[in-house]
């Protein structure tokens, strides 16, 4: 398919702006760019059709089943888009006087309050723009806590299980910490002995996802947070998997001190091809003075917006966060309410267990028993015996019109495929998908060579990623340059 730049023709364009109604101000050539921005010259029709064609070459939740593990690709309700498009939300300036943005502040304080109840936390900030940004914010709360206790220099180690998302260790380093990775036990959970051996006077905290990335609820969770606390560290909850437990079990009750949520996973806001997201961060009361400024929670006790936060970690983003994402998430929470929130979690877990059961007919599960909202399969044996990899299965699924599970994660499972069906799929969809997963398995085992070539029916065949990294072409350039 052609690029926008290859569709450009000199002299083509649109008439978007009126003539200027004041005298033109001319900057000296010393201040001016030498040439006009070499953007493509296109008609509005060109632009509109170009993106319609691009849309056909993409795949979203609205196109079909999307069991991408760890990403919670649930249906994105359309009412969320409608409320986020209300002029009262889209057309307000972030620096308007408080008296003219009471509705926006109420959106923030209501969302904070409801998310506190869902997580069992005492205070919340909505400033972080995504999950990893929330992790960063949470890490800063931990850093500030130790710093103000005079232990900032001493407590610099963050413990992260080897099953964790890559963002966890990367976050710890951004917070000026060093990472202590601990291996998971036989059952995929935290190895208590390893944890006991790892904690000490240098422990700043532990970062943990529960249920973990294997889809298992760690039964020792209370003991885990206790071990960390007794060592003087804090426990950080990575909320990537909250969809399994919301309304059923709360991170705050598990002993966690702070938590981040992914509004774009658990709370149904769309992923937008990679963002924008929302990364709310909650904490217990003793950490709340350190939350980013401005603080809107009732804890400030100084009117709706408190700019005077002397102990705050500072700002992590301009203004108040991804506000329209928060509007969508609030719309969702209000729609589901106290009945719908736990019901969604339970059906997410039901769907996962049902799909797991169906796929167990052929696929080897990394761990048996009841899973939470997701489960991990391993193609290790198939890979050794027949050369059929997780990649081959994933790419074969593309030919069947299904978005594949997450590949090669978590790192501790070889040839992993991690599936998360979510609560918004019907049994019919799960059954059809299961049939296709099983058919793809047989097909690949019967003819591994053909599986290596798949997909055959997508927009492109397998791309040469080595060439892309070795000889980076990261922008279009006109032929003569």
């Amino acid at each position: 398919m052609k690029l926008l730049f290859e569709k450009s023709a000199v002299g083509r364009g649109s008439t978007i702006l009126p003539e200027c109604d004041v005298p033109e101000y001319i900057f000296s050539s010393e201040l001016s760019r030498q040439k006009a921005v070499p953007l493509p010259e296109l008609s509005e029709n060109d632009v509109s059709r170009h993106y319609s064609e691009l849309e056909r070459r993409a795949y979203g939740v609205n196109n079909g089943f999307y069991p991408l593990g760890s990403c919670t690709m649930k249906y994105n309700p359309k009412i969320n888009e409608k409320t986020a498009a209300l002029s009262g939300f889209t057309d307000v300036h972030p620096l308007q006087p408080e008296s003219t943005v009471r509705g926006a502040l109420e959106v923030l304080s209501t969302a904070e309050k409801l998310l506190c109840e869902i997580t069992g936390m005492d205070a919340m900030t909505l400033q972080p723009a995504a999950g990893a940004h929330g992790e960063f914010t949470g890490m800063l709360l931990i850093k500030k806590y130790h710093e103000l206790r005079g232990e900032g220099k001493k407590r610099t180690k963050v413990i992260v299980p080897d099953s964790a998302h890559g963002t966890n260790p990367a976050t710890a380093v951004m917070g000026g910490m060093t990472v202590v990775s601990i291996p998971s036990g036989e059952d995929g959970c935290v190895d208590l002995e390893m944890l006991r051996a790892a904690v000490g006077e240098d422990t700043a905290g532990l970062m943990l996802t529960n249920p973990n990335t294997l889809g298992i609820f760690d039964k020792n969770i209370l003991e885990i947070t206790k071990i960390v606390h007794e060592a003087g560290g804090l426990a950080y909850y990575d909320g990537a998997n909250l969809n399994a437990i919301m309304g059923v079990v709360r991170p705050g009750d598990m002993g966690f001190d702070c938590v981040h949520l992914n509004l774009h996973k658990t709370f149904s806001t769309p992923h937008g091809g990679g963002g924008p997201g929302g990364g709310a961060v909650g904490c217990k009361a003793f950490l709340s003075p350190y939350l980013p400024e401005p603080q809107i929670s009732p804890f400030s006790g100084q009117g709706p917006v408190n700019e005077d936060c002397p102990q705050s970690v500072g700002k992590v983003k301009a203004f108040y966060g991804n506000f329209l994402v928060i509007v969508r998430a609030l719309t969702y929470i209000l729609t589901l309410g106290r009945e719908g929130i736990p019901d969604a979690a339970k059906h997410a877990v039901l769907s996962a267990n049902y799909l797991k059961k169906r796929l167990s007919e052929k696929y080897t599960m990394a761990f048996g028993g009841t899973c939470m909202h997701e489960f991990v399969m391993t193609l290790e044996r198939e890979s050794k015996e027949r050369g059929v990899s997780a990649m081959d299965i994933a790419k074969s699924l593309l030919d069947r019109g299904i978005h594949p599970p997450t590949m090669y994660f978590p790192l501790i499972v070889h040839e992993a495929l991690m599936a998360e069906p979510t609560e918004t799929e019907s049994k019919e969809t799960l059954d059809e998908a299961a049939d296709l997963f099983l058919a793809v398995y047989d097909e690949a085992m019967a003819d591994p060579e053909k599986a290596h070539l798949r997909p055959l029916s997508a927009a492109i065949r397998r791309p040469d990623e080595v060439e892309a990294a070795r000889n980076p072409r990261l922008r279009w350039k006109p032929a003569e340059l």
Binding site: F5, V22, P38, R56, P77, T83, H93, G314, E339, H347
Partner: protein, 440 residues
Amino acid sequence: MGHYLSITEEQRKEMLEAIGLDSLDGMYAGAPSDLVLKRELDLPSGRSELGVLREMEALASKNRVFPTVFRGAGAYRHYIPAVVSSVSAKETFLTSYTPYQSEISQGILQAIFEYQTMICQLTGMDVSNASVYDGATAAAEALTMCRDRKRAKALVSSCANPEVIKVMRTYCWAANAEMLLIPEKDGLTDKEALRAMLDGSVACVYIAQPNFYGLIEDAPTIGQIAHENGARFIMGVNPIAAALLKTPGECGADIAVGEGQPLGMPLSFGGPYLGFMASTGAMMRKLPGRIVGETSDSEGNRAFVLTLQAREQHIRREKASSNICSNEALCALTAAVYMAVMGPGGIRSAAQQCASKAHYMAKLISDIPGFGLRFSGEFFHEFVTECPVDTGKLMATLEENGILGGLPLPDGGILWCTTEMNTKDEIDALVRLVREGKRV
């Protein structure tokens, strides 16, 4: 209650039976029983779509939308062409994930590749990433790109946007890295002070162009001073101004970052916005976040993929250049559509109108006694005037007339902003009100 479930009661029973359980609660047997909530959450009861719509509309109506806006300071009200909103609302763009599965994500990948190209064209830089959270975090990430063991200190112009400075400060504190402010002189970065601050420990120098006061910095000279001392030069640029002013590339910048909101995103009480980041080829592998590259598929067809992933957290874990994962992809797509439909002439016209109107208005306001321009330097579409009356009262008068006035500064001045959205009539009306307000 509202819900988005697709499983019927009958099917629920069948599914439970298939997995050998008799209740949904049985699935949580792995969690310690005293952790499982014995009560309902203290949330309102769920409700219908129409019910929720009414509630959200009631909240939205508690906000005041000003028909006329003369406030910028980091968030700018520009015209958004109709086709921009139409494209960015397309369901597949909205509901797809990060394009890991490139074979079925060529549409998203190509859109980002085109965005990266247009950011390079706008800034005059070699490479761009696929976006970060906003302009402030882009600036903070740029400082991180420049740090190494020997050179860890960042020098940041005190004339940059205070929100951006605050975020940079947080990121530097996080990394245990030093950040110092370069003093201001006549509303501009003090070049002599900068010269005195530079030594072998300085990793980079950051300035905003135009700066917080709307003034145009002597970027080429500042870049030269930084480079002479072995420091990198980072420019935070307004993308609309970049259509007229000397590009970061022409100014010798190593990294150009900025807030992309003016490129087709509504004000939205501060977000979601778009952090853009571009650099020289030499710094390509230091860029954080996703980057899309062109390659070919096994049949030789053009193909796009996420590339240079050895920089990223999911591969490198604690050795990654940043922890960023989700970015602002849909906002990047929005900016690309905006630039595509505006074209070279349209974006130039938008920039030119912003500047022309600001200069028209600055002349009229500064003619009012006591409202003189605070600084004499060249400015783009924002400028600071003094204010001889109570700014709160003046703003209230403007608000009564449907106008969101300039931003009152802590020291009593006012930071005004115009864009192509402000008509001559609006400007004339504002000036009349300010003149009358002065008499009050």
